[in-house]
């Protein structure tokens, strides 16, 4: 499976990754090689094989619906690039 430059630019946009123009071809080549590797899977017949999502086929544990967390807003926001009045700041979204 060969990816071209346009494919890489599209994937990078979907992943919200800025890729330098000069690196696009190298990513296209490397990703194409990786996809060639994973395409080995297509030769295997997996009809009626159920996908394995959890190795022990465990299911989600449930707990009582009660508040157990303390408010740690200040501690957790201490690592944020920009906060004001307890809110995370981002560039203006709505004009």
């Amino acid at each position: 499976m060969a990816l071209n430059r346009t494919d890489v630019e599209k994937i990078a946009h979907l992943a919200r990754l800025q890729i330098e123009e000069s690196d696009v071809q190298a990513y296209a080549d490397n990703l194409s090689n990786i996809l060639d590797l994973v395409d080995q899977m297509q030769s295997v017949d997996t009809t009626d094989v159920s996908p394995l999502a959890h190795p022990l086929d465990a299911v989600q544990r449930l707990r009582a619906d009660v508040v157990t967390e303390e408010n740690q807003r200040e501690a957790l926001q201490s690592a944020a690039p920009a906060v004001e009045n307890g809110l995370f700041l981002v560039p203006k979204v709505i004009e």
Binding site: I11, R16, Y27, N30, T46, A80, P91
Partner: protein, 483 residues
């Protein structure tokens, strides 16, 4: 003191031969004078370490010491540590001071251990050589032109160079076992869910598992005693009884049934490695084990299945790094999309970007069945191979890696070549099984690891099997020249 095992250090502390403060200072001094050669630590925390050591000494004086009280260890820089930078080897988190402790860190604190610092790693644990670290590659103490393995390469280098007596690691596709093999250590990847993932920065959540890297199986057992257990903060942690992993190390191995998968011993296997593994198996026969050939027919498919599942989960997990709540943010974003793209473009390195893009592609509209679902089906086939094999034998043995530690830069140009390094380790993560790597000899002066694979929650058996071999051999006691 620095060349002792955890078991010996625990005894020394108990007998009052030295205090935890003296021991910790000795390690800090060694790190200060030696680590420029190995780059094994990203962050050293001398003040925190000495404070914890003093508290441990006080606890001991008042009769409140446990088996690990006052023992210094190092932690892979993937475990969030309150008040300490936790970088995951990435520029993205270079400025991240964690506001909380991972469960694993809490458990080491509760056991009275001392944290020397945070060890180097491939960026977000994506790599097999430690070369994708934002902080530069760690180096193999056995030969500093060679890689220590990855992604827990800093932990391996630190223990091999006696800059920590033991360390934590994480293993998503081999990241505890492969660096342990490359650096002559004993490393254990537990069953999926045996060790809590809370506060362990996520790479591929259905595969990630923390575990110990140590000098001996006994030390690994002491470490696992601290780390293992169910955790309400991690709903995927296993609610399964925790053994005292040091209790049954001495069980005799007579009657142990060992399976050797023929797929692990193909003609393409490095002949020196093949000979060393066969030599180790002979040693086990001398200890009373029996050996039979088994088959894990889907082994080769573990590479393609892993390199869909892990990148797909990574692309989802790493979407949280968007410049809003923590970590790097680009300068003067012109709008929200520009902020996301430049923050992530600047914050992530090349290998991380590659894997995010592979995962994004595999999960994109129209490709899900062909890639992710197909990989999960193959994952089932790989698991069934193991279940079948482990109904006939107690443990499976083979090489940990196809070759000893390679040179820095040797495999960086072609990611696929690097991915093939993981051929023998990936399948365990896909199946969720526990596995170890233990030293079994040398090839051209570089260590070679024997991989031992067990059934679900058979960590106690694996450690017993590893320990008895270490009682009969001395490969694990060999040290790099000058250490």
């Amino acid at each position: 003191m620095h060349n002792k095992t955890l078991a010996e250090l625990a005894q020394g502390l108990e007998q009052g031969d030295f205090s935890s403060v003296e021991l910790t200072q000795a390690y800090l001094d060694r790190i200060e004078s030696q680590d420029s050669k190995y780059n094994s630590y990203i962050t050293v925390t001398p003040e925190l370490a000495l404070e914890q050591a003093a508290a441990a000494d006080t606890a001991r004086q008042s009769g409140n010491a446990g088996p690990m009280t006052g023992i210094p260890v190092a932690h892979k820089d993937i475990f969030c540590t309150q008040g300490v930078r936790t970088s995951a080897g990435s520029k993205m988190l270079d400025n991240f001071i964690s506001p909380y402790d991972a469960t694993v860190i809490q458990k080491f604190n509760a056991a009275g251990c001392v944290s020397l610092g945070k060890t180097n790693m491939d960026e977000f644990a994506m790599g097999s050589s430690n070369e994708s670290s934002f902080y530069g590659a760690a180096r193999n103490p056995w030969h500093t032109d060679h890689v220590p393995g990855g992604s827990s390469g800093g932990s391996a280098a630190a223990v091999a160079a006696d800059l920590a007596p033991a360390a934590t690691g994480t293993d998503t596709g081999g990241s505890i076992r492969q660096p342990s093999a490359f650096c002559n250590l004993t490393g254990l990847k537990p069953t999926y869910g045996r060790v809590s993932r809370f506060g362990m920065i996520a790479y591929a959540s259905s595969l990630d598992q923390g575990g110990p890297m140590a000098k001996t199986a006994q030390d690994a057992a002491m470490m696992l005693n601290v780390m293992a257990g169910v955790d309400p903060m991690d709903s995927t942690s296993a609610d399964h009884p925790v053994a005292d992993y040091t209790a049954n190390l001495e069980q005799p191995l007579s009657g142990l049934k060992i399976g050797l998968p023929k797929e692990f011993f193909s003609d393409s296997l490095n002949p020196e490695i093949a000979a060393l593994i066969q030599g180790a198996v002979k040693e086990y026969e001398a200890l009373g084990a029996t050996v039979k050939e088994i088959s894990l027919p889907n082994t080769a498919l573990s590479v393609p299945a892993y390199y869909i599942i892990a990148p797909a989960e990574a692309s989802s997990n790493l979407s949280r790094f968007d410049g809003v709540r923590y970590g790097h943010r680009c300068d003067e974003p012109k709008d929200l999309e520009d902020m996301y793209k430049r923050t992530r473009g600047e914050g992530f390195g090349t290998e991380v970007k590659r894997r995010i893009m592979v995962g994004t592609y595999a999960l994109s509209e129209g490709f899900y069945d062909a890639y992710y679902k197909k990989a999960q089906q193959i994952r089932r086939l790989i698991q069934q191979d193991f279940v079948r094999a482990l109904s006939e034998v107690d443990v499976i043995m083979g090489p940990t890696t196809p070759s000893p530690a390679f040179r820095l830069g040797e495999k960086t140009s072609d990611p696929v070549e690097m991915y093939m390094e993981d051929i023998f380790t990936l399948s365990l993560n896909l199946a969720g099984l526990p596995g170890m790597s233990i030293p079994c000899g040398f090839s051209n002066g570089l260590p070679v690891g024997l991989q031992i694979i067990g059934n679900y929650f058979a960590e106690e058996k694996l450690l017993n099997v590893a320990h008895k071999y270490q009682q009969a051999t001395d490969w694990h006691t060999r040290k790099p020249e000058g250490i």
